[in-house]
């Protein structure tokens, strides 16, 4: 989509360039050059990686940062394409929905780094001896960390398109294709962009983790910030880790300012509400582009292309069309379809059983489940501890508008920062003071995800209505009673949202947090994360599959039995306004 819809009515004067054009032009050309430069590197043979191995020279860091950023970009593009196709299929076809949505639900709880084990092998075999295969594996790992929640958001938006707009687009003869671009996509845009931002935040963690990975005999070290840190750990170079953290800091800052803020400010018009909002998101970058004349003229072809594409008279397959004339769904076809799904599932289950039972026994399952519960305990304790700390802090900040205005971006930034870059710092401390790895490695799991709790609580507290605040103080509600009767119920839905994200992130982080090393010192905490990590390193695929399956089941159960009921309760009873 083009950045904005401008009307050619202003074309005459639009062609004269102004000073903003120069600035914007430099930015655009710069971005293009960087993309081409970074892209050239991925085409080389794998041996090129050995010829020019990652070095700890900080002057290389900008290049590494570029490579890391490009992987992110590529993954996000893939995620968006996937989202459009998958969500559209699920929303428009009832039979596809029956399979796709539960599948998505499970995919969401699969540990991403677990995926990596298989995809590295798969992609390396697909492009033997090429860097490209390894790159794809890495991009795929990031993709798996981003796509699911974006797809869910899109699907839910598409299912909730207002009835009157649907009728209007039908009654004005919009084709299915036109309707998708004119109604479904714009309506889904705000949710999709918010989820894309969340996905990006999570993605940095995985891009860093997947750049240097060993699966059995295959070791891949792609040039990037992640592999830079991996090397620094091996060589016990603490300053290098400092440089990497600084580089990452700058990259995320640039990403936020140059990409996301403009997009969020632009997407404000898609928010579905009939009244103008009080505060509109703003972005200096978007303002810059809106002030340029010639560059805006450059965007006309894109606008025109966008219009042309969305106006194409593409006939969608009959069963994808929104049809009101569909009679009662055929029972026989449904039964056949259901039978097909059941048969497929049974076959898959049998294959998995066959594969696992060849090498594993029941006792392996029990021990893996045991590890799973240890990690579960870690997650629960850590979420509780983080809540105890960040809820009061978040409330305190959120009730002070001036302060929260400044802290909120920082908290969001910290949530985006890949915490695994900072792991070595903690490992050094644990090693130096001889601390118990089982206890002290645990906080690493929540190092990066605790910020989700903080910024959601801040958001909740700042959205707390001032009349309720005034009512509470006029009735002299203070102390413990104020917390339990006033503010905690008020921020509950926000807190739950934050806690769900934090807990999901912690499960994922356990795979890298429960094993840590510094030079030759290896620390291992007992748990499912360590179980999967060790099995991956040894190339023991049956154990990896088992570990992933157990983690998947635990996460799903945890979500269904705890988080979802809490979330539903919060939305039903405690959502204000």
């Amino acid at each position: 989509m083009a950045i904005q819809h401008t009307r050619p009515a202003a074309l005459g004067q639009a062609l004269r360039p102004n000073i903003w054009d120069l600035v914007a032009l430099i930015l655009v050309i710069g971005a293009l050059v960087l993309i081409v430069y970074g892209g050239e590197q991925t085409a080389g043979p794998l041996s090129a990686l050995d010829v020019a191995p990652v070095s700890l020279d900080p002057t290389n860091l900008p290049f590494y940062a570029l490579r890391t950023t490009m992987r992110m970009l590529l993954a996000i593009v893939c995620s968006i394409i996937f989202t459009f196709i998958y969500a559209a299929l699920a929303a428009k076809s009832r039979r596809a929905e029956m399979v796709l949505i539960p599948l998505l639900d499970i995919l969401q709880s699969v540990p991403i780094l677990g995926f990596l084990t298989f995809t590295v092998v798969f992609f390396m075999n697909l492009f033997p001896g090429r860097v490209f295969g390894a790159e794809l594996a890495c991009v795929f790992a990031i993709f798996t960390s981003q796509a699911w929640n974006m797809t869910f958001s899109m699907y839910q938006s598409m299912r909730n398109v207002p009835k009157d707009l649907e009728e209007a687009s039908q009654s004005f003869h919009l084709s299915g294709w036109q309707r998708f671009w004119r109604l479904d996509v714009p309506f889904a845009m705000p949710g999709l962009i918010w989820n894309t931002m969340m996905s990006m935040s999570g993605g940095w963690f995985f891009v860093v983790a997947s750049e240097a990975i060993t699966v059995g005999d295959t070791t891949v070290t792609l040039p990037g910030i992640g592999s830079y840190v991996a090397l620094a750990i091996k060589e016990q170079n603490l300053p290098a880790i400092g440089y990497a953290i600084l580089a990452m800091f700058l990259v995320i800052l640039a990403y936020d300012q140059l990409l996301f803020r403009p997009v969020v400010a632009w997407a404000d018009k898609f928010r579905f509400e009939q009244t103008a909002s009080a505060t509109e998101p703003s972005s200096w970058m978007l303002d810059l582009f809106r002030r340029t004349r010639a560059l805006r003229a450059l965007s006309y072809p894109f606008t025109a292309l966008n219009k042309a594409v969305s106006n194409l008279h593409i006939a969608l397959p009959k069963n994808l069309r929104v049809s009101t004339r569909r009679g009662p769904p055929s029972r026989i076809a449904d039964a056949l379809w259901l039978g097909l799904i059941v048969a497929g599932t049974a076959f898959a289950a049998w294959k998995v059983y066959e594969y696992l039972s060849a090498t594993l026994s029941v006792s392996d399952v029990f021990s893996a489940v045991g590890y799973g519960f240890i990690t579960l305990a870690r997650v629960v304790v850590l979420i509780a501890l983080a809540s105890l700390i960040w809820v009061p802090v978040g409330v305190w900040i959120g009730l002070r508008p001036k302060l929260s205005e400044r802290i909120q971006p920082l908290a969001q930034f910290l949530a985006a920062f890949p915490a695994n870059l900072a792991f070595p710092v903690f490992v050094v401390l644990i090693v130096r003071y001889g601390l118990n790895a089982n206890v002290w490695l645990s906080p690493l799991m929540i190092l990066g995800t605790q910020w989700y709790i903080l910024f959601n609580v801040i958001a909740g507290a700042s959205a707390f209505p001032s009349d309720l605040k005034e009512a509470a103080s006029s009735f002299h509600l203070k102390g413990w009673r104020w917390w339990t009767k006033v503010i905690l119920p008020g921020i509950f839905p926000y807190y739950i949202t934050g806690a769900i994200t934090a807990s999901g992130g912690s499960w994922n982080a356990s795979i890298v947090a429960e094993v840590a090393s510094w030079g030759d010192t290896h620390l291992t905490a007992t748990g499912l994360g360590a179980y999967i990590a060790t099995a991956t390193e040894a190339g023991d695929f049956p154990r990896v599959v088992l570990g992933i399956a157990i983690m998947c089941i635990l996460v799903t159960l945890f979500n269904r039995l705890l988080w979802r009921p809490l979330y539903a309760f919060g939305e039903r009873r405690l959502r204000l306004g």
Partner: protein, 436 residues
């Protein structure tokens, strides 16, 4: 334009029925054997209570839903999907918030594949015609309700439809705005400046129908069918205070109350225990207020519905709801467009809160079957509790899920006011316990 000899038939509806699936598996009939013909050059109104199926009929004509049986033809062709030459104005405006006024208006033309130059010319002409000049680049959220609905009209008119469908187009607007828009539209129509041949509008506002339409079809509810056809021969512009106008409004009020002598059962014939009666949610506060108002001067227990509606600034549909609720509870009697307090109703007006609750409880138990049922079940069960699903399922044997919800909600609210039973929303349980 009105007297044009060209009487070409635009729309022909013959014996159209429509039913929707219901909780219990059987279908719920909402439209029964409706006939309707629209010729060139007339404004036809579909007038009826909410739930009388008039919006369903409009959507059948718009090609948005299909009839269960019967023939629907537009310009001689069977309606299959939105027909060409028909466009629609929505109650909720249905504007795309991410498109500007101009883009919204152009949308219908784009879908028709009309080239850019002509699109722009026609869109600007429609915007000009409907009085939106200067707002072309505004987004809908920057506009007031009246302006938004003007965009809705411009968008519908720009495709030059033969038949313009309007689904309660003024009911989301405030009184003054709605009146301005109505007169503007009628002026354009009378001057023959609208690029359309006929209008079909759905409304529940009796005065609006008499003000605008040449022909009014009055719908009865459950299932919806055409109860009467009324010709309005008054010349435009019509004057609301004109005695003929008032007479017509009064007679339509009378006709619409006539049919509700007995509260309508959801399905004819299955009155049975009477549990299948749809209750519209009316707050006990509103009922008390209305009884007090009726008992006081100038009504002294007897009010003419159009007058009462005018004083209370209520739509006909709302005043019918209230009147029927009072009639159901035997606090008032509704007939021939008049609302009269009964003896208990007069007594109620002068009681204190606690006595009122007692009287209300007596009436509600005796005259509202579902309330009696809930109370009886709670009394009989040893635990004195019952899940809401118990009653919901029974209600869904008679009515659609939405109506069952509404009925249950009303039962809860009235039961709470009458202190007949308690309801735990979290657990969805009825019980006899009241916190003391």
């Amino acid at each position: 334009m009105l007297d044009q000899a060209n009487e070409a038939t635009l729309l022909d509806i013959r014996g159209v029925c429509r039913s929707f699936p219901k909780g219990s598996g059987e279908d719920l009939l909402v439209l029964e054997k409706v006939d309707l013909t629209i010729h060139s050059g007339e404004i036809v109104g579909l007038l009826g209570r909410s739930g009388s199926g008039k919006s369903t009929l409009l959507r059948i004509i718009a090609g948005l839903i299909t009839p269960s049986s019967g023939d629907a033809k537009c310009r001689g062709e069977a309606i299959d999907g939105p027909p060409n030459g028909v466009s629609m104005v929505f109650q909720s405006f249905a504007l795309f918030p991410w498109l500007t006024v101009l883009q919204n208006v152009e949308l219908g033309l784009e879908a028709l594949g009309i080239d850019k130059g002509e699109r722009r010319t026609r869109a600007l002409a429609a915007i000009d015609l409907i009085g939106l000049d200067g707002f072309e680049s505004a987004y809908p959220k920057e506009l007031s309700g009246g302006m938004r609905q003007r965009v809705g009209f411009a968008r519908a008119l720009v495709v030059h439809p033969d038949l313009l469908l309007m689904d309660e187009p003024f009911s989301a607007l405030d009184v003054l705005t709605a009146e301005t828009l109505r007169t503007d539209l009628i002026d354009l129509w009378v001057e023959g400046r609208l690029p359309i041949k006929s209008v079909l509008m759905v409304t529940h506002n009796i005065e609006e129908a008499v003000l605008m339409c040449d022909r009014i079809l009055v719908f009865s509810s459950n299932p919806g069918r055409v109860a009467a056809e009324i010709k309005v021969d008054l010349p435009h512009p019509r004057n609301r205070l004109d005695p003929t106008f008032r007479l017509l409004v009064d007679s339509i009020y009378a006709r619409m109350t006539q049919r509700s002598e007995t509260p309508t059962p959801a399905i004819e014939g299955i009155q049975g225990s009477g549990v299948g009666m749809v209750l519209n949610h009316v707050s006990s506060n509103v009922l008390s207020g209305l009884i007090e108002r009726l008992a006081a001067a100038p009504y002294n227990g007897h009010a003419d519905l159009p007058v009462l509606a005018g004083h209370l600034q209520l739509e006909a549909d709302e005043i019918f709801h209230l009147g029927e609720a009072l009639q159901l509870l035997r606090f008032a009697h509704l007939s021939e467009g008049d609302l009269m307090l009964t003896e208990p109703g007069k007594r109620f007006a002068h009681l204190e809160t606690d006595e009122r609750k007692k009287l209300f409880a007596e009436h509600v138990i005796s005259y509202v079957p579902v309330m009696g049922l809930i109370r009886r079940v709670l009394d009989e069960r040893p635990s004195h509790t019952a899940p809401a699903a118990r009653f919901r399922n029974e209600l869904e044997d008679y009515m659609s899920e939405d109506y069952a919800d509404e009925t249950l909600k009303t039962a809860v609210s009235w039961g709470r006011y009458a202190e007949l039973f308690a309801y735990d929303e979290q657990a969805e349980m009825f019980s006899l316990e009241n916190p003391h």
